[in-house]
């Protein structure tokens, strides 16, 4: 299986992990959203390649959805949201950027150990895709945990979802219906989060989710 097919699949999936880590490195909202768009584009390339080598045309649809919605529509909308809300452009992090990067690399290592240990007999491409997908999911979660800003939490959530799509595309034979329903649920989640964003902004003059905690009385 050491052909060009494998190499390109490996390259694209690896790039997705890399872009996830680049997301962690960003300290400005605008650039974060741009990197997120890149994330989606790499994902759609990767899925398209899987479609090509698996001979599964419905995966091309998935790739197209990822490209159009996540690569274009959502970033544009998020940019507009930021401009309209006039949100402070710096991302506030819990712990330094260096620390989260380190944790991100640790997540990658962890997911590789886990995946390579539990799937010794699986198809190499699927196996490697799963390892990368799990790291993308973990990094997405890490981002949601370590960023105070609601917009970056949204971005973390969506890159997490990208990881799920990568896993599904690698796992051969995911029906289109599932994909569409996943995309739809993401859209719903996006709308909900959008409304949520506007509401906290209205009420607290900030999108720092810490404001909610303060309101609830968890912190002083």
């Amino acid at each position: 299986m050491r052909g060009l097919q494998f190499d390109i699949a490996h390259l694209l999936a690896g790039m997705l992990v890399l872009v996830s880590l680049i997301q962690l490195y960003q300290d400005r909202l605008q650039s974060l959203i741009n990197v997120f768009a890149l994330h989606a584009i790499v994902l759609s390339l990767s899925v398209a390649w899987q479609a090509h080598i698996q001979g599964a045309p419905h995966l091309f649809v998935t790739a197209l959805i990822a490209l159009v919605f996540k690569g274009m529509v959502i970033p544009v909308v998020l940019h507009r949201v930021i401009r309209r809300l006039g949100i402070h452009r710096e991302i506030e992090t819990v712990g330094g950027i260096g620390l989260t990067m380190l944790a991100g690399v640790a997540m990658v290592g962890l997911s590789m150990v886990v995946m390579l240990k539990v799937t010794p007999g699986a198809d190499p491409i699927a196996r490697e895709d799963l390892a990368f997908a799990l790291s993308v999911v973990l990094i997405g979660l890490l981002m949601m945990v370590t960023r105070r800003n609601a917009v970056s939490q949204v971005v973390g959530f969506m890159s997490l979802e990208n990881g799920l799509i990568l896993a599904a595309a690698g796992a051969r034979g995911m029906p289109l219906v599932v994909e569409i329903s996943v995309a739809f649920s993401i859209l719903i989640a996006f709308i909900v989060i959008g409304i949520f964003l506007f509401r906290i902004r209205e009420r607290f003059d900030t999108v720092d989710v810490g404001a909610l905690d303060r309101f609830r009385g968890d912190r002083q």
Binding site: G96, G98, L99, G109, M112, V113, L116, K117
Partner: protein, 669 residues
Amino acid sequence: MNVEFHAGFFVFALLALAAASVPLARTPRGPVIIYGAAAAIAAIAALSGAIAAARGIPLQVRLPLGLPGIGVRLQLDALSSIFALIVNLAAALASLYAVGYGRHEHEQGRVLPFYCLFLLGMNLVLVADDAFTFLIAWEFMSLSSWALVLVHHKSEVNRNAGFLYLTMAAIGTLALLFVFGMLAGGAGGYAFDAIRAQELNGFAAGVTLLLALVGTGSKAGLVPLHAWLPPAHSAAPSHVSALMSGVMTKVAVYGFIRIVFDLLGAPDWWWGTLVLVLGGITAVLGVLYALMQHDLKRLLAYHTVENIGIIFIGLGLALAFKYHGMTGAAALAATAAIFHVFNHCIFKSLLFFGAGAVQTATGTRDMDHLGGLIHRMPGTSFLFLVGCVAISALPPLNGFVSEWLTFQVILLSPELPDWGLKFSIPAVGALLALSAALAAACFVKAFGVTFLGRARTPEAAAAGEVDRYSLAAMGVLAALCLLAGIFPGVVIDILAPTVTSIVGGRMPVQTEIAWLTIVPIAESRSSYNGLILFLFIAFAAYVAVYVIHRLASDAVRRGPAWDCGFPDPRPQTQYSASSFAQPIRRVYGTLVFRAREIVDMPRPGDLRAARFSVRLRDLIWDWFYAPVVVGVTTAADLLNPLQFQTIRRYLALVFTALVTVLTVVALWQ
């Protein structure tokens, strides 16, 4: 000459010297005689270590002392003879240094006897061949060095250091006591031969490894058991600091190797990972602590912690490869570790001697009160610089060789079948590289702030060069740094029998390779030649000097410093130890030390002086030691009423304890 005579000679010579030093300490020539004799004895001991290492046949002695049935067994085998060589070499040079340095000591009576006993204790640990002798020698070494820490007991800081040291030494010895208890097993054979024959089951062996890590790691300074080391090592007189930091920690490493590689039998799968990760953490934390110091000797002592980490990385790799049956790689790892033991012994002694020279010449070891010593102490500063380059792992000196060997072992990690190791070894490699780079930063700081720049105090400006003996001792060590760096193959071959004895294999013979190159695995894979590199650099420098002095202008004019047009004549405006470390403190310290900078800037019109202070927290102390201290204090308070009981109640207490123990024993069987 028979072996008993040899052993007896060293023991009685050092004991006699210790006894003689009590009256001699009061005479003006006394210290010189004692240190001279100690140097001679240590040199002979080093020589016999070398001969024993070369002969390769273990020497055994059994003295009719100690516990009945065991006696005192001494043995000089491949492992102990190489450590005896290293330890006594450094001890001989420390004694030579002390011939000059020791004269400045006011409390001769408190130093000399314990110094001789300390040398004796370290040697006895190395040759002990049964658990009883080992523990007695170990405790002897601890207590005599504790007495040396408390030489200047009038200072509060030193008293605290001594107390902490004694506590940690007690904990370490306790752990070792249990180690030998576990090792001896139910049969209770305490001679090392009997222990080797004993097979421990997996769980017991694992517990023994953990206890051995506590016991020897606390003496060596493995994080988090390192807290006592820097205050204690810096409190003692400098030649003793050199011995404690450069030599006693190596005896602790010897203890670890002896117990884990020799006595404990085949390693388990997780041992290598544990030791490796502990080593990596120790290396990075040690050097970060060192960078935050402004006391020269404390900086060196913290840096010892880093080097212990590097040695334990090598030992952990050796354990991991040994478990997986890759003898060649294990031999490479063990060679790297023991090579680093030798290197660290040499350059850390050199640096402590230099620090002692600085303290003698200026009366202080606070780097912020020094500066510009390179003009006043040219010899010391040159030799100290050699030590700094060597310890920063820069080619072509010796520190680089052992780190290079360690990197070569790390590169063999993909061949391991274990996934955890595959991923943790490159991460530890990153930690090792980080600690090497930080070590260079640390020694730029140590040398730059102490010896370069302008004198910050009148004492530093009036310093003078130290005596010939001190310089000679430092010179020998500096020469050894260079020689071990450019002829590493010779050292590797000398270490080969030792390595064979602990991992069952050795590196290929190096001295027969053309041009004295070292080739750890295969020529196509990697090779290093310190000699050629050294000559190549010398040639390049010579060409540069020759061409420049033939073709370029030779004119030199002295003038005031330029400094972009704003030179400040006050030496206080120079970079200090703390300001040099500021960027590193900001990058790493906010995480590791919770470093906070507090700037108190008065408003305009306010005549207060502006204040800047830095607050560092030792998280290991806060998380690891403070709870223990609180726990012990609370327990002591709770138990306090027991001190005020009637005799009947005491008897009842003893009786209950006895009955409980007997019940446990009855139920156990």
